[in-house]
């Protein structure tokens, strides 16, 4: 690398740190949406770097579907402890109990959609005026149109056809009372960038990302983890399988990959060779061509 050039990972890092500081400067009460997945872990890592030696000037916000991998919650609590951050938990179970949402029924029932209501309620209750999310533009075609600073109206809705122009590195976070912003510092990162960065920075990630044995079954070609609340058809046989997670979300819709990768180098080699996107295993995106766009308009992550 020539003098006064930085490599692309450092450039992405610098861009994300700039965005995080912009959020801290432009908003009164931001929060960082934390799912326990690799992207939000990288987000926390970047936030720590952005404000060092001070602590992160905003809380982590976890929307808990109640249908988690156990490891996710343990990991979350340890991370919060380590960085000395405040944690806000919005519970989907509570939203169900309060009658704000109704549980989906049937084999493919998932709490993924219900999260949106809990998320918006949590944002309102905690009076957040900006919610930092780990969404990336390479994930999904509706996300490819997303701004770094994404305006949401008083109902939390996204209006993709009427977004604010975003040029250079000038970000317009002005809003009316009751409106909020979603901010995506990782917009320009790809899945490969995330893994290479985790490797480069030696960032701790949950053991779920590495190969392990797990009771699982196959539905419509997707490998799903078994859990007490998973309804299974008679034909769906639970077996012990050698798997790992490529993404981590709600357990009911997170597809697992057959893999023996037990270290980051192997994971990176696996990603480089794979021919399916990481969301290819996500049942939530398969519901329709515009599944993500529709959910996002309603206020989804």
């Amino acid at each position: 690398m020539k003098k006064y050039n930085i490599n692309h990972l450092r450039e992405l890092e610098s861009e994300s740190i700039f965005i995080m500081r912009e959020v801290a400067a432009q908003f009164e009460n931001p929060g960082l949406l934390f799912s326990g997945g690799k992207d939000s872990i990288v987000m926390v890592h970047l936030a720590v770097k952005a404000f060092w030696p001070a602590k992160i000037p905003f809380p982590l916000v976890h929307i808990d579907t109640g249908h988690n991998f156990e490891e996710t919650i343990t990991f979350r609590d340890e991370l919060v402890e380590k960085i000395g951050a405040r944690l806000i938990v919005g519970s989907v179970q509570e939203s169900i109990d309060k009658g704000r949402v109704a549980e989906e029924k049937g084999y493919n029932a998932s709490r993924n959609l219900l999260q949106t209501v809990t998320l918006l309620d949590t944002i309102e209750e905690a009076k957040l005026d900006a919610a930092l999310g780990g969404g990336r533009r390479d994930e999904e075609k509706a996300r490819a149109k997303e701004r770094f600073f994404s305006h949401r109206d008083e109902f939390g809705q996204w209006d993709p056809k009427n977004q604010r122009p975003e040029l250079w590195n000038i970000f317009n976070g002005k809003k009316h009372l009751g409106e909020h912003f979603r901010v995506f510092p990782l917009s320009n990162w790809t899945e490969m960038d995330i893994w290479q960065y985790i490797y480069l920075e030696n960032i701790d990630i949950p053991s779920l990302y590495f190969t392990h044995e797990r009771a699982a079954f196959i539905r419509d070609g997707v490998v799903l983890a078994d859990a007490p609340f998973m309804m299974k058809r008679d034909t769906e046989e639970v077996k012990t399988m050698q798997v790992r997670c490529r993404t981590i979300g709600d357990i009911t819709c997170t597809g697992l990959t057959f893999s023996t990768a037990d270290n980051l180098e192997d994971i990176i080699a696996e990603i480089a060779a794979t021919r399916v996107t990481e969301r290819g295993g996500r049942a939530d995106d398969k519901r329709s061509e515009s599944a993500m766009e529709d959910r996002k308009k309603e206020g989804y992550f």
Binding site: M1, K2, Y4, N5, I6, N7, H8, L9, R10, E11, L12, E15, I17, F18, R21, A24, A25, K49, A50, W52, P53, A54, K55, R137, D138, K141, R143, A144, K145, P160, K161, R164, P165, E166, L167, W168, I170, N172, K174, K175, H176, N188, T190, M192, D193, Q196, Y199, L200, E265, I268, A269, I271, A272, A273, R275, T277, G280, E289, S290, E293
Partner: protein, 432 residues
């Protein structure tokens, strides 16, 4: 585990990965000029389109009644875009080759989307301009080229596409090249290259074309991989807009006070004599902090934290510069404005103005002339600027701005205008 494909030289070992540079380029085009096919090919040939994405495009193509896979559907993200078969907004695409990572800002080409073209061009190092070999240089070519030059994209790559439809004739290519070069002399662009291609057939996109032995230059991908981008950023005039003040107020860092920001120009080193604007106080850089470490120097586009030797009152919006290299300081700025809102800009109107990390208000003093983006002619008419129009405008700000011309520095030379009632970004400007 490594796959055997035409691209099996893809090396994503971490060592190689860390050596990669980032290149951002913009494309603009309409439905018929093969832009989507070209992007589709660049993504496909670098293994950046995945099987499930291809499946979903296939499904959508069949649904629309198409016989062939419509690669344009890969780039159209919103439901309305797929339904209407047009690109409305800027879409960002990513692919990597062993040498570089690329970000494509894919924008619509029609005149009514000039504002989207401007948006996509604002961060680009290079612009791909497509010319249909059958039609030669058109109004749209002029428009794209002018906007690329206005936004100071350093490198233009002119792709003469659909060479297969003109029997790969060298004369056709040469004629277009000549036609474009004559026009380009009016533009302010550092580097212009030409490449004859067929996006559909793949000629000169990734592999050298056997159909055009007369072409001795590199393929499109080779050009993209080898354009020199190191000198695109300003490394001469040190500019550090203060973004955020870091004060831990903890036992360990009791007296710590650091000024966080992203270097917008030049090189800063520990011990440098600096001046803080607007106060004009001079002091010395005590340290440049990265994460848990001190850095010897900082340059664009690094995000760092600067500590100063003296206790001076500094807040967001201030700018740290070198004592012997100070930007312009003024409340009157001349700006090339591109208007982005349905509600026209008028003289005497007031707007919020954002420039670097600074936030002020401004009034439109004068609209000097508009530019016809198709002919580059100046039009002196009226006191109104409508959506997608570009004009030279004089603004008067409530507080001084510290700025350079956009030509000199894209960071300290750019600004946006915000409607005070709606909070929408309604205009963008490049300081003359």
């Amino acid at each position: 585990m490594k796959q055997k494909t035409m691209d099996n030289n893809q090396d994503f070992s971490s060592k190689a990965y860390l050596d990669m540079e980032l290149l951002r380029f913009s494309t603009a085009g309409s439905v018929d000029d093969g832009k989507s096919t070209l992007i589709g090919r660049l993504l496909y040939d670098s293994k950046s389109i995945f099987e499930d994405q291809l499946e979903s495009v296939k499904r959508a193509s069949i649904k629309k009644g198409n016989e062939q896979i419509d690669l344009a559907l890969v780039t159209d993200g919103l439901r309305a875009e797929r339904e209407q078969g047009i690109t409305i907004d800027v879409a960002y695409r990513y692919f990597a080759t062993p040498k570089r990572k690329f970000i494509i800002a894919d924008t619509p080409g029609h005149v009514q989307y000039t504002r989207n073209m401007v948006t996509g061009a604002s961060t680009a190092n290079a612009a791909l301009i497509l010319i249909d070999a059958r039609n030669g240089v058109t109004e749209q070519t002029y428009r794209h080229s002018y906007i690329s030059s206005l936004l100071q994209i350093p490198h233009l790559i002119i792709c003469v596409n659909k060479m297969d439809l003109v029997d790969y004739k060298e004369e056709v290519y040469e004629e277009i090249k000549e036609q474009f070069s004559a026009f380009a002399s009016k533009l302010d662009v550092k580097d212009i290259r030409f490449v004859p291609i067929s996006a559909l057939k793949g000629d000169n996109v990734v592999d050298h074309s056997k159909n055009m032995p007369w072409y001795g230059g590199g393929t499109l991908r080779y050009i993209l991989e080898n354009i020199h981008v190191g000198s695109d950023l300003n490394h001469l005039d040190p500019r550090f807009p203060v973004q955020y003040v870091i004060r831990p107020q903890s036992d360990e860092f009791h007296d710590y006070r650091g000024y966080a920001g992203r270097v917008a120009g030049g090189v800063f080193r520990k011990g440098d004599r600096v001046v803080v604007l607007p106060s004009g106080f001079a002091t010395t850089i005590e340290a440049i902090d990265g994460y848990k470490e001190e850095l010897k120097e900082a340059y664009p586009p690094m995000s760092v934290t600067i500590r100063l030797a003296d206790d001076i009152d500094i807040s967001r919006g201030d700018m740290i510069v070198k004592e012997n290299n100070v930007p312009e300081i003024s409340q009157d700025v001349d700006v090339m404005v591109c208007w982005m809102s349905e509600k026209a800009m008028q003289t005497r109107m007031k707007y919020h103005l954002k420039h670097t990390t600074n936030d002020v208000k401004c009034m439109v003093k004068e609209i000097k002339y508009k530019v016809d983006v198709n002919t580059l002619n100046r039009i002196e008419d009226g006191n109104e600027l409508k959506m997608n129009e570009i004009a030279r405008v004089t603004l008067r700000t409530t507080k001084p701005l510290y700025f350079d011309s956009y030509r000199q520095n894209r960071q300290t030379g750019s600004l946006i205008l915000i409607d005070e009632a709606t909070n929408n970004t309604v205009g963008v400007g490049m300081i003359v």
